[in-house]
């Protein structure tokens, strides 16, 4: 039982980042009917920003007190979110906007091209091997009733939760969030209501990219590494999470992301970590086989 709860907790902590990346996919797809294949690479940029900033600061390993560590962590998050947000705006203007609303595969292929270019640029800049992201959060383990949570796991989880709550607030309770939902459902009618659809497109890709950047920082610090192709597997899993949840409800995407993390942790804990990805993919594909529109419904293309 204790092991079960431990794996459940581990799974939720790791799954929260899947949820954040999957939300970015889902947000961009539901609003613009564009599969943004460069999204995982924006996430990768976030991890590399963490690497560059923290290495540049010469932070001694675990040599910071709690407040300083928190300040550095939040600072790195902020720099990464600004960088990936800007990257997202450029991506939207140069690649997504000109191809949006044409044949569905056009933006798909265009963003795939960006994705490959970004992977290879990272390889060129930082080398093909993973780089070590120094951890800034002091290693500490909280224990509650035999269940252990590391400080970094907690930081990752809290970051993800904060992002999800912020997104939820934006989408449901702000004027532009309302416009975003309207564009997702009926872009023509929203435009005729006075919504500048290009601006919504920009905001949406920008926000999705900021979220991916934050997730990249959190994951880079959690696994203390960044690599040029780290977005591939991560992005694929998040993308399938979005398909399984359906892109109509952001809450559904969050839940499926967390669930994937839990499934993976359970497989690792009870069967073998070698089978982790296989079981996760098989399960996700099985759901899609029976419910191609996703568990909670999707917008039509």
């Amino acid at each position: 039982m204790e092991q079960f709860v431990q794996q459940l907790v581990n799974g939720i902590m790791a799954g929260s980042t899947y949820a954040v990346v999957a939300l970015g996919f889902g947000l961009v797809f539901s609003v613009m009917r564009v599969v943004n294949l460069a999204h995982p690479e924006i996430f990768m940029i976030g991890a590399y920003v963490a690497f560059v900033v923290i290495t540049g600061l010469h932070v001694p390993d675990a040599g910071l007190d709690v407040l300083a560590a928190l300040a550095v962590f939040l600072g790195v998050l902020l720099v990464a979110m600004l960088t990936t947000g800007a990257a997202g705006l450029v991506l939207e203007r140069l690649v997504i906007r000109p191809t949006r609303g044409t044949y569905i595969l056009t933006p798909f292929i265009a963003t795939a091209g960006v994705s490959i270019a970004l992977q290879n640029s990272a390889q060129r800049l930082f080398g093909p091997d993973p780089v070590r992201v120094p951890s800034v959060i002091p290693a500490y383990t909280f224990t509650l009733g035999g269940v252990r949570v590391s400080s970094m796991q907690l930081a990752t989880f809290l970051t993800a939760v904060a992002i999800m709550l912020a997104l939820r607030y934006y989408v449901h309770s702000t004027r532009w969030g309302r416009a975003t939902r309207a564009v997702a459902e009926k872009p023509d009618v929203a435009a005729a209501c006075g919504v500048n659809v290009n601006l919504v497109s920009q905001l949406t890709v920008g926000i999705a990219s900021i979220m991916a950047g934050a997730a990249g920082v959190a994951l880079g610090l959690l696994y203390t590494s960044a690599a040029p192709f780290m977005g591939l597997l991560y992005g694929l899993k998040s993308f399938i999470c979005m398909l399984v949840a359906g892109n109509r409800h952001i809450e559904a995407i969050m839940a499926v992301g967390l669930l994937l993390g839990v499934v993976e942790a359970m497989v690792t804990g009870y069967i073998s970590s070698n089978l982790r990805d296989a079981v996760a993919f098989a399960l996700l594909l099985a759901v899609l086989f029976f419910r191609p529109q996703g568990l909670f419904g999707s917008y039509e293309v």
Binding site: R175, R178, D188, V189, A190, A191, A192, G194, V195, N198
Partner: protein, 237 residues
């Protein structure tokens, strides 16, 4: 008197298909004008071109002297034109109130917006009762009220109504056209595309007959009702 809306030589094409061919029409301040025609005649294309939702291949659209045919829809809305789309097209995943607020999106939210929302809800009391419901749960007639209410929220000078009677019960259709007259009485001009010639001619001041993308005739409602073609094809007598 110069027209409020002046459409000249409008051409709309989808690839090689010419849906609208050199259409001239106008709407004067305080008028209801109707475009009558069968399915596929190009009525919706004209409406969508005025709203800026399709780029015309040729011709001009002027509204109060301002050229609109190069503007994006949200700019056209800002100039004072609102659209009641064919088949209602309410935002079904938004609540009734959110739908109304979307209608006023381009306007600064102030007391005037609140007052207009109250006016719309006075006009359609069911919308007030169902304020917090999702618009997708409304009946067809209620959705049509919401679509009209949403359009009125932007305080337009011209209302474009695309097939407002489509799919509604005959009784609802009748009250809908009465409503068009009520809206006109508030100083809002209307251009409607309709297949239901009988009802449209009952409230319109002037009507155009559109066939295969071309205007084949036009006249005051009384003239049109007397016209042989209209009687034979559209009024079934």
């Amino acid at each position: 008197m110069s027209a409020l809306l002046q459409v000249s030589g409008l051409e709309v094409a989808y690839g090689p298909v010419r849906a609208v061919r050199g259409v001239d029409l106008e709407v004067h301040q305080g008028e209801i004008r109707a475009i009558l025609g069968a399915n596929g005649a190009g009525k919706s294309s004209i409406i969508r071109a005025i709203m800026g939702l399709v780029k015309p291949r040729g011709g001009t659209v002027a509204f109060g002297g301002q050229a609109l045919h190069k503007l994006l829809p949200h700019k056209v809305n800002e100039w004072g034109i609102a659209w009641v789309p064919e088949g209602r097209q309410v935002f079904s995943t938004l609540t009734v109130e959110e739908n109304l607020l979307m209608g006023a999106f381009a306007r600064r939210h102030d007391q005037a917006t609140d007052a207009r929302q109250q006016q719309v809800m006075d006009m359609f009391p069911t919308l007030r009762e169902r304020r917090t419901q999702l618009a997708g749960s409304l009946s067809g007639g209620e959705q049509q009220m919401l679509a009209i209410g949403r359009a009125l929220m932007s305080n337009p000078r011209l209302l474009l109504m695309d097939e407002p009677s489509l799919g509604l019960a005959p009784k609802v259709v009748r009250s809908l056209f009465d409503l068009a007259q009520e809206i006109r009485a508030r100083g809002i001009s209307i251009l409607m595309a309709e297949q239901n010639a009988r009802q449209a001619l009952r409230v319109a001041d002037y009507a155009y007959l559109l066939e295969v993308g071309e205007i084949r005739g036009g006249g005051s409602a009384t003239e049109m009702e007397a016209s042989e073609t209209i009687r034979r094809v559209y009024l079934g007598g």
